[in-house]
């Protein structure tokens, strides 16, 4: 997918000005946050479960090579073919090769963020193979001129009922419907035909189980089941970090994933798929392929950002992020928005292509608090800022300003002089008012708010005066 993260600020301004989007974000925020909080109540020991989940994920990523080899061997034993892709281009090449080998003309897809990373739909189309997104949200975006998703769990969360009504009327050529159930039914009927006629189903994978060589898939709509049951070929595309040890570990993680993502105690469909259709079976794919994708992940192993590999893509961090809640997902400019995206985009799509993202956070740590696998997201964002500075990627003015500030702050007399001049200057700017409308040193501040006037003298001046009066010695 094209990276538009360098335009974060302009994108964000556009999002703030989009009245429809603002309404949808407000609506979504309330629902995600409230439902998660409710769903955690019947999990008696959230902290304990989270600790267990952290341990499970760490166990794998700390020995990722061994677990990958183990998963590969088990998957091959079940009759699956395991392939490896270094980057998005290789993902596209492998999937097209598989499709061509089996004479595939149409691929039904359940949601896969890695497919978005790789730009797979465009590649399939170019190869004359029709990709059909079947998650309702992804389908809405696909038929709207391949618009990118704005949320990893609810891809079309930025669209309103009216948007979808107009879109389906135009694309399907049917009378315009205004009820959500009727629109859902219309999509169901269109997609049912695709499910039955596609020769190949393509899914992501929520987890890969090393014990059994299985892929675990979580969906609510049933489209994940459709694409892995009806076509004769099933291709799984997942990141190499998705391995977990056992089925018991899967159960532990499943107590957290749906609760964190959508506020459900369990998703409607949770499928653990192992191997291919047996001779007497009525349904199921005859061919199963795993494409294990690197796309930047291997280079994160063992670095300061290693903990990010624990991520299970629930989206709780973005649902709870004050910045995401304010501007939505598109502003982040790549596949993953919110705090998750502000870490993943620099790591996978290039630090130089996403200068703003690590800074587009207040470091409030709401994301870290809700993360079901305990990723210290604010620490990782801060670390990325440090890497940017080290690599000279920040604007020169900012770097000089910071260095100067730190230099002065190490020299108390100079600092005291600067502070008392600053206090007087700001007081002068405010004049008789108790506020400053436009702050020349930081015009960004003044875009949406005033700056309160200072008292006019610094604490240290007044404190020294008081000590002189009372005769205290410092």
């Amino acid at each position: 997918m094209e990276i538009k993260s360098m335009r974060f600020k302009a994108n964000a301004a556009g999002s703030l000005a989009n009245v429809v989007l603002q309404g949808n974000l407000k609506n979504a925020k309330g629902k995600f946050v409230t439902k998660r909080a409710e769903a955690l109540k019947d999990l008696d020991d959230f902290e304990g479960t989270r600790d267990a989940a952290v341990a499970i994920r760490n166990k794998v990523i700390d020995n990722l090579d061994l677990w990958l080899e183990r998963f590969e061997r088990k998957a091959q034993e079940t009759g699956a073919t395991v392939m490896w892709a270094k980057d998005g281009a290789e993902v596209c090449r492998l999937v097209i090769e598989i499709a061509q080998k089996h004479g595939v003309t149409k691929v039904t897809k359940s949601k896969s963020m890695l497919s978005e990373e790789a730009g797979l739909n465009q590649a399939l189309e170019a190869a004359g193979i029709q990709p059909v997104e079947t998650d309702l949200g992804e389908y809405i975006l696909q038929v709207d001129n391949n618009e990118p998703p704005s949320h990893i769990i609810a891809p079309a969360v930025h669209k309103s009922l009216d948007d979808v009504a107009d879109l389906f009327h135009k694309v399907h050529g049917t009378p315009r419907k205004t009820e959500i159930p009727a629109l859902t039914r219309e999509a169901r009927e269109v997609l049912r035909g695709h499910f039955l006629s596609a020769e190949m189903g393509l899914s992501g994978g929520n987890f890969l189980v090393a014990e059994t060589g299985s892929v675990a898939l979580v969906t609510n709509e049933g489209n994940g089941r459709m694409v892995t049951t009806m076509p004769k070929v099933h291709v799984v595309i997942t990141g190499i970090e998705k391995v977990i040890p056992t089925l018991e570990d899967l159960s532990t993680l499943m107590r957290l994933l749906p609760r964190s993502a959508t506020g459900q105690s369990i998703s409607n469909y949770f499928s653990i798929l192992t191997g291919v259709k047996q001779p007497e079976e009525h349904d199921g794919p005859e061919h199963l392929y795993f494409v294990l994708v690197d796309s930047g992940r291997a280079d994160v192993v063992g670095t300061d950002f290693h903990a990010m590999l624990r991520c299970i893509r629930c989206g709780a961090c973005m649902n709870h992020c004050p910045v995401y809640q304010t501007i939505g997902g598109h502003a982040y400019g790549w596949v993953y928005p919110g705090p998750m995206g502000s870490v993943l985009t620099p790591l996978y799509a290039g630090m130089e292509n996403s200068i703003d993202l690590p800074h587009a956070a207040t470091l409030c740590n709401q994301c870290g608090v809700v993360c079901p696998v305990g990723i210290p997201l604010p620490d990782l964002l801060r670390k990325l800022r440090e890497k940017q500075t080290e690599r000279g990627l920040r604007p020169l003015k900012e770097r000089i300003g910071l260095r100067l500030w730190a230099w002065v702050a190490q020299r108390p007399k100079l600092y005291a002089l600067g502070a008392s001049l600053g206090a007087r200057y700001l007081k002068w700017l405010a004049g008789d008012a108790d506020r400053i409308r436009l702050l020349p040193a930081a015009p960004e501040w003044s875009l949406g708010r005033d700056f309160p006037a200072p008292q006019g003298k610094t604490f240290r001046e007044l404190y020294a005066a008081r000590r002189n009066r009372t005769g205290d010695k410092p």
Partner: protein, 244 residues
């Protein structure tokens, strides 16, 4: 028992903008029986440098602050943000230098946010302030989520007869300040602040109170830009201490 010697870390924002908060903290600690010194060479804890990716600057300022404050029985600050930076981040950012890391760790366990110190260590049973009226409390992010500052200010405010606490919706949600975030992404920051201010106004309280000046400047600036002239914006130390 010898008087407890407290080093008051005023914070650079209080020094520049609101000295009266520093004096309020001083009064609260002295009233509770502490000997309080605000070392005159103190500047900034280094958090802005650390959060902006300037690790060398942050390390230098951490060492400076440790040298100034490690001789006190306790280090107290009227800020959960700066307090947490000293308590939690110093040992991390000095991890590569064992001697300094150990000094940071030794000081960390004696470093407190003001209300936490009054409640947890000093166990005060009264406060000198005489504020009257309804207030609503904004929980600043770092104090809340890293230092566990939630009940402490409320417990102290509950000791004041004239204070009527009206909790707002989303009191734990970020106000959008975020330090340098507020001047890098002004529009987004102000839009987040607008949600916070709407909750403040909806609470019906006459004053919004918090424990971190950065958030308070943000909230006050946004309230005034929104046309609200009446809601007072106060640091919890000012409310608790009364006239200084």
């Amino acid at each position: 028992m010898a008087r407890v010697r407290v080093g008051l870390f005023v914070t650079c924002l209080v020094d520049l903008m609101r000295p009266r908060i520093g004096f309020a903290a001083l009064k609260l600690l002295e009233t509770a029986g502490c000997e309080v010194i605000a070392p005159e060479t103190q500047t900034c804890c280094g958090q802005p440098a650390w959060n902006s990716g300037d690790a060398p600057g942050a390390v230098a300022l951490a060492k400076k602050t440790i040298a100034e404050f490690e001789g006190f029985d306790y280090v107290v600050s009227p800020s959960g943000s700066c307090g947490d930076h000293i308590r939690t981040e110093y040992p991390t950012l000095l991890a590569a230098e064992p001697e300094w890391r150990d000094r940071a760790t030794a000081m960390a366990s004696r470093t407190y946010e003001l209300t936490d110190f009054l409640v947890t260590v000093l166990k005060v049973d009264s406060v000198p302030g005489d504020h009257e009226g309804s207030i609503t409390y904004h929980d600043s992010c770092t104090g809340l989520r890293s230092m566990g500052i939630k009940q402490q200010p409320r417990a102290l405010l509950a000791k004041m007869k004239g204070v009527d606490l009206k909790e707002m919706n989303g009191c734990e949600e970020c106000c959008g300040f975020g330090g340098t975030f507020s001047v890098k992404f002004g529009e987004v920051s102000a839009a987040i602040a607008e949600r916070k201010c709407a909750n403040v106004l909806a609470s019906g309280a006459k004053a919004v109170v918090g424990g971190d000046l950065g958030c308070l400047l943000n909230i006050e600036g946004k309230l005034r830009r929104m046309g609200d002239e009446s809601t007072q914006v106060l640091h919890v130390a000012e409310v608790l201490a009364g006239r200084v």
